[in-house]
């Protein structure tokens, strides 16, 4: 509480927004990442190589490029954005949901990777056994694969959350730097650095960022260790 009391309303808003965007980005990616990770873990299709490469792309590309592509696709004149705006009145660019979309895409590769590793550690023989007992694919996934890999799946989520918290380039390109709407921690730090006399703010937010990411990655590491131990049994 004392830490929170130290923060100005603007800084608090940046912290709250960061967590909101991070959670939204994680929840948004989760179902897609799970399906994709399971497919990559089990499929013997030769397409896995290509899909694998495509999944990693956002991690390699400059975030600005991702932000620019998002703007082209989801901006009001963009081919998806125009549709969303006309049909549903939704505008993603320059809004916090746009920031969440950008952060989700950037965090997606990390999430898929650790989920895939966790799902690969589940013995496919158990899934076969469930199938001979009459279970369909979905049931096998939810009753066997997912419970046996849940620690790795949670680790993927916490890693993705940490990555989403740090998103800067794509967010500022696609969602802008609007205080209270899209100014998350990294953007707030950047803004503080632009103004003279705001160094203490930048410092406080930097420490906050470090604390948040460290918590998420430690949680992730603990979960992964337990998942590996489980596999060895």
């Amino acid at each position: 509480m004392t830490l929170v009391a130290l923060l100005s309303p603007e800084e608090l808003s940046a912290l709250g927004l960061s967590i909101q965007v991070g959670l939204a980005a994680t929840l948004l990616s989760l179902p897609f990442a799970l399906v994709l990770a399971f497919w990559l873990a089990r499929s013997r299709s030769r397409w896995t190589v290509l899909i694998d490469a495509l999944v990693i792309m956002p991690m390699i590309l400059p975030p600005v490029v991702v932000g620019y592509l998002l703007l082209i696709a989801f901006g009001r004149q963009g081919f998806i954005g125009a549709f969303l705006y006309e049909q549903l009145g939704l505008s993603l660019a320059y809004s916090w949901s746009g920031a969440a979309l950008a952060a989700g895409i950037l965090a997606f590769p990390l999430m898929v990777r650790s989920m895939r590793e966790a799902l690969e550690s589940v013995d496919p023989g158990l899934e076969e056994a469930a199938a001979t007992l009459g279970a369909g694919r979905l049931r096998v996934f939810f009753s066997i694969s997912m419970p046996l890999a849940y620690r790795g799946i949670l680790a993927g989520c916490s890693l993705a959350f940490a990555r989403a918290l740090g998103e800067f380039g794509a967010t500022i390109t696609f969602a802008g730097n609007l205080e209270g709407e899209t100014r998350t921690l990294p953007l707030a730090i950047y803004s503080a650095m632009q103004e003279p006399g705001q160094y203490p703010t930048a410092w406080r937010l930097t420490c906050l960022s470090i604390a948040l990411s460290l918590t998420a990655t430690i949680l992730c590491e603990l979960l992964l260790r337990r998942q590996r131990r489980e596999r060895r049994r």
Partner: protein, 367 residues
């Protein structure tokens, strides 16, 4: 219910070409490792589907009225729709679930009108009652086998495939599951295909056998007849023709020198084993340790002479096995040369004495 299989699978340089028919009851599938037994079971269960094979899979699998697979009609049911139960070699219990959840996993997916067995019935017959709340990872090997068996039959299969379910268990414990298997056999009127390397195990469960070698069925029918016809070449790897006999203990001598008991209504001297009078046990006996005589031998060191009647001859890999019935259903196998059989003038119905040293018997612990 009956099963008809015609398959032709090519995978790399391995080819599986099988035609077989099974009626209700247990049939053993015997063959050297690498002959395609496990692959055959996986294809029947639907765990190997044509599109997953880097090669070709053609043929037909029909279970009762239902076509499970027919390449010319493009029918290939997924495993969950086949109603083919499988007990895997490594059992594959779900480690994150309790014993009860494992048992009921398949049962809960079966529509009510197809449920022919009640869980309570199976739990009682397989003696699983005390294990239900335990995690599946914290029970013994023998218990795991029974859970795997119970789980498979509670899914109401119309065909049960068992892939060496006893292979992972040490020898004395193997025997413990046999009575449960017999119960399954008697309770379910479905075909059961049982892969095994161990002839003693097969002999206790069935008289019907299918022998595979090099991806093909090389013989099927009655155990001894079939083995006699097919044991050659690659199949001639050593295997045991040891049989087991039921013994009722009379008493164990206090000086630890011997145990007296009854086999087939006749009194025998067995190696010492500290067992109480009346105990029902089993001893194993190899046919090479049994000598046959036409009359009672006197002044002979072997302590046991069991009277019986020759009930059949089975040629086995260049040897002759003579089956001698002692009474009360006990049958002793003796291995003789063709020459000895002719010299003694043995034929079906001949009265003979089985001369057996005490040390030739080996106690088999467990049920």
């Amino acid at each position: 219910m009956s099963l008809q299989v015609e398959l032709d699978l090519t995978r790399g340089d391995f080819r599986l070409q099988v035609e077989l028919q099974l009626g209700p009851g247990l049939t053993a599938l015997f063959g050297p490792s690498g002959c395609g037994k496990t692959t055959l079971l996986q294809v029947i269960a639907g765990l190997i589907q044509p599109k997953q094979v880097a090669g070709e899979l053609r043929g037909k699998i029909q279970l009762g009225e239902r076509l499970l697979f027919a390449s010319n009609q493009r029918i290939c049911l997924p495993p969950r729709e086949r109603r083919v139960g499988m007990v895997f070699q490594d059992l594959r219990l779900f480690p994150h679930r309790r014993v009860a959840d494992n048992l009921l996993y398949g049962y809960e997916l079966v529509p009510e009108k197809r449920r022919k067995l009640e869980p309570a019935q199976v739990i009682e017959a397989l003696e699983l009652g005390s294990l239900l709340a335990r995690p599946a990872t914290e029970i013994s090997g023998g218990e795991r086998q029974r859970v795997a068996l119970g789980r498979a039959i509670l899914a109401m299969p119309e065909l049960l495939l068992m892939d060496e379910p006893l292979a992972a268990v040490d020898l004395p414990r193997r025997r413990q599951i046999l009575p449960y298997l017999r119960w399954v056999q008697e309770t379910l009127e479905i075909p059961i295909l049982y892969v095994s390397h161990a002839l003693p195990e097969i002999l206790e469960l069935t008289t019907e056998i299918i022998v595979m070698d090099g991806g093909k069925v090389v013989g099927s029918g009655e155990v001894f007849e079939t083995l006699g016809r097919t044991l050659h070449g690659a199949l001639a790897e050593p295997f045991s023709t040891e049989t087991t006999l039921k013994v009722q203990v009379e008493n164990s001598l206090e000086d630890g020198s011997a145990t007296w008991g009854w086999i087939g209504g006749q009194r025998v001297v067995l190696p010492f084993q500290a067992l109480s009078p009346g105990y029902l046990g089993r001893v194993a006996l190899g046919p090479e340790d049994v000598m046959l005589a036409k009359s009672e031998l006197t002044q002979v060191s072997a302590r046991n002479q069991l009277h019986g009647e020759v009930v059949r001859f089975s040629p086995l890999h260049g040897r002759q096995l003579v089956h001698v019935r002692l009474g009360e259903g006990a049958v002793v196998l003796a291995e003789l040369t063709q020459n000895a059989i002719e010299d003694l003038g043995l034929e079906l119905g001949s009265r003979v004495n089985c001369v057996i040293k005490t040390s030739a018997f080996r106690w088999v612990m467990g049920k």
